[in-house]
């Protein structure tokens, strides 16, 4: 399972409910209005002014026009929003943007450089591991994360690493092929 930032949500909700911020013990209250948020996305700094309740996914999709990662279930179940934050995959739909400050955030846009595809992206194209393509960015990011963690991943490790992602067109067979193929390239 991916981290879903559940603790962060609970903290934010509690903070907003505290009537007198001055009397509060603990971190300063943020919001409910817009607050400055600085994110490091694919190595670049992104400065935003957003409400503290805005998720990392929505912050990037609707305020920074980084629309590669998708919103599908919006409840940390399907993995279409998968990003890599400080080396770990997270469901960006269930992670607050304010909690991602100071961390290295990698989205699907950060994997390719210019027209050169990441080997995982290339493998997805080569074996047709996509159909409508809406789950694809999440699967690509999750596959990259699995192979970074396990350069010689077994089928079982790949399966486990991708079990937090759902595809409705039914491309799983070829996603597994792509992951194995990309891994082969890595080995070579």
């Amino acid at each position: 399972m991916k981290s879903a930032g559940v603790t962060s949500i609970a903290t934010a909700v509690t903070s907003v409910a505290v009537p007198d911020a001055g009397a509060q013990i603990g971190p300063a209250v943020l919001g409910p209005g817009d607050v400055p948020v600085a994110l490091t996305v694919n190595g670049k700094r992104v400065d935003l002014k957003i409400e503290p309740r805005v998720t990392l996914l929505d912050a990037l999709r609707t305020r920074a026009d980084l629309t590669g990662n998708k919103r599908v279930c919006d409840r940390g179940t399907c993995g279409a929003c998968t990003m890599i934050v400080d080396g770990r995959t997270v469901y960006a739909c269930s992670t607050l943007a304010i909690e991602a400050q100071g961390k290295e955030i990698r989205t699907v846009e950060g994997l390719s450089s210019g027209n050169a595809l990441h080997r995982v992206q290339q493998a997805f194209c080569d074996v047709d591991a996509l159909m409508c393509g809406f789950c694809t960015p999440g699967f690509v990011v999750a596959t990259v994360a699995v192979l970074e963690k396990h350069p010689n991943a077994t089928r079982e490790q790949i399966s486990k690493g991708l079990d937090g992602n759902i595809c409705r067109c039914g491309t799983f067979v070829r996603i597994m092929e792509a992951a194995l193929k990309a891994q082969g390239v890595a080995r070579g």
Binding site: C73, T136, N165, T171
Partner: protein
Amino acid sequence: MADEQVVRDRDVLQRSGAPAPAGKYAWPEKPALLSTPIKRLDGPDKVTGRARYTYDINRPGMIYGKVVRSPYPHARVVSVDLAAAQRAPGVKAALVYREPGTQVMYQGDPVAAVAADTEERARDAARLVRVRYEPLPHLANVEQAMAADAPQVFPNGNVRAGARDETGDLAAGFANAAHTVDQTYSTHVITHVCLETHGCVCEWDGEKLTAWISTQAVIQSAQQFAQALGIPQSNVHCITQYMGGGFGSKFGPDAQGIICAKLAKQANAPVKLMLDRKEEHLDTGNRPSATAHIRAGVSSDGTLTAFEADSWGTGGAGAASGFPLPYIYNFPNRKRIHKDVYINAGLQRAMRAPGHPQGCFLTEILMDELADHVQMDPVAFRLRNLPPAGPNAMWAQYFRDGATRFGWDKRHATGDPAPGPIKTGMGVSAHRWGGAGRGSHAHVDILSDGSAVVKCGTQDIGTGTRTIVAIVAAETFGLPISGVKVEIGDSTLPFSGGSGGSTTAASVTPAIRVACTDALDALFAKVAPTLGVQPADLVADGGRIHVKSNASKGVSWKDACKLLGTEPIEVDGQWQDGLSGAGTSGVQFAEASVDIETGIVRVTRILAMQDCGLIVDKLTAESQAYGGVIAAINFALFEDRILDRVTGQMVNPNMEWYLLAGMSDVPTIDIVLNNMPERGVIGIGEPPTVSTASAIANAVRNATGATIRSLPLHPHKVLAAIEQVRAGGTN
């Protein structure tokens, strides 16, 4: 269903399966590209996140719409007060969709809408819309709707008589039966769960509307916007470059699209309105349920003699629930009466092979029960009762070849004799589908710089339509795929139909072939004089135009196009008979293991034998077959729209408790596509999803000796069926 009826009529008309002669447009006998594996053209855009789906469209000044929906399954709207919402921060527009005095008929029925400058504020404002409802009696399931004391919720009754079909002499059929089976079989309601939810971005320029819309029918969406908004169709421009799944549920703007356009008009700003996951489950269609009480007879030699069924199903609040029954096999004497049952739930829409997975399951489980009565192998039993073979009725061959390939000879009789809690079994099932072509137009430009641009108002639902358009054009022009530019997904392009009924490939590719062939003839007419030959002497291949009998006598494609000077070649073409066929057949084998202590079913292997006429792109055709099989594993084992029987509300309107397969749930899948070029192009999007669930259910029966006559095969049902057998019941 109407579409499917058309397809079936065509299917019958073209029972011979051979298309009319296509003359000069005929598909090449030795194609360079057709039927080979070719990578999806837009793969790089999709894997990098560059592809802009409707959900990803961000326009300058764009605001966000949110629909207010009924929490009640049935209620009268007493009043709608927008005032508080209109005063909320950032709100730019608000409207009443359902006037007071009218009724909402299901949870999620739209009532009002708001638009605000951020999505979060739009959600806040939607909560401030004060709707007063007078709750009315509701029907949460079929049993409630059919009960003798049920309240009449629908004006013309909760139950409507549907199709009635009678053939042969039923009494004689049963008189000839050595054995009869008398059982009730059923399938459940599932929702489409398109990963990109329904929705659009609407932007007005005066009286002209541009709508980026997630649809499988871009031109028809423009028609529907125009009708609903009372503006000329020429004022509407719909764009669908990429769309995240439809499966039959996205043929128009729906309520949310019209609401979005009205909010955009009122706010004088572009509005994005994408449904959330709960709305998607409640109000964008579903596969109707199906139930049949069946009595069927078989003679002692294994010949089917009689079939009598009372069937019903629900497509929600006022929609039909038809399905074919019996399916495939020859029951010479049969009678079937169908009823549509209305309940207070979202309306059904076509869903991947509408009707067929239901009819297939109801028939195929029965078939295995009948086979056991006459102690015949399920494959041999089916072979005895098939309709005559034909190009679109290849079941016998697939049963035989598939049995060998799958290792069917290792199948044990019903009930795995192996010790221990894990039992394994095999099952088999057959299906059919239409997939015929129909009117579609195309336009081709050949420019003097060598550009070849192919335009068609179709859309790529994820099957690879953009890619097959390029393949056909490149094949015709003798160019590499990269030598062709494809324009689709725009309502201003030449007419094409919606992507439904597996008709897209069979509709679009002939139009492209005709237009490209005619365009090439025009180019030949320019080239021929410079080579001192007749146009008819020329061919195009390998990026050159040359004399048929002398490959060295010719010019490059680019040089040929230079001859055009300032006047490009512009040609229109349209679908014509002879390049596409109709009707497909398929057979699937499944192997499953069942833990009889937990009731958990795991599918371990699937073999899909499938024909699809002339394969255009081997790679994407196979992907569709894989996808169909996996969708049906979901139907068989996981997904289920669950309505609370008291409140009529959906208890799992999310993706956490509405279960779908993940990587670990996917078995080994073996796809065998039967390429039949002589039949022309036939769609393959739907057929592979029809029979998988039935084959799995028969494999579970073979493993456990217990028959589960209703989908999904959830653990509690598996355990109950096994327990019934153990208790000596009549399961």
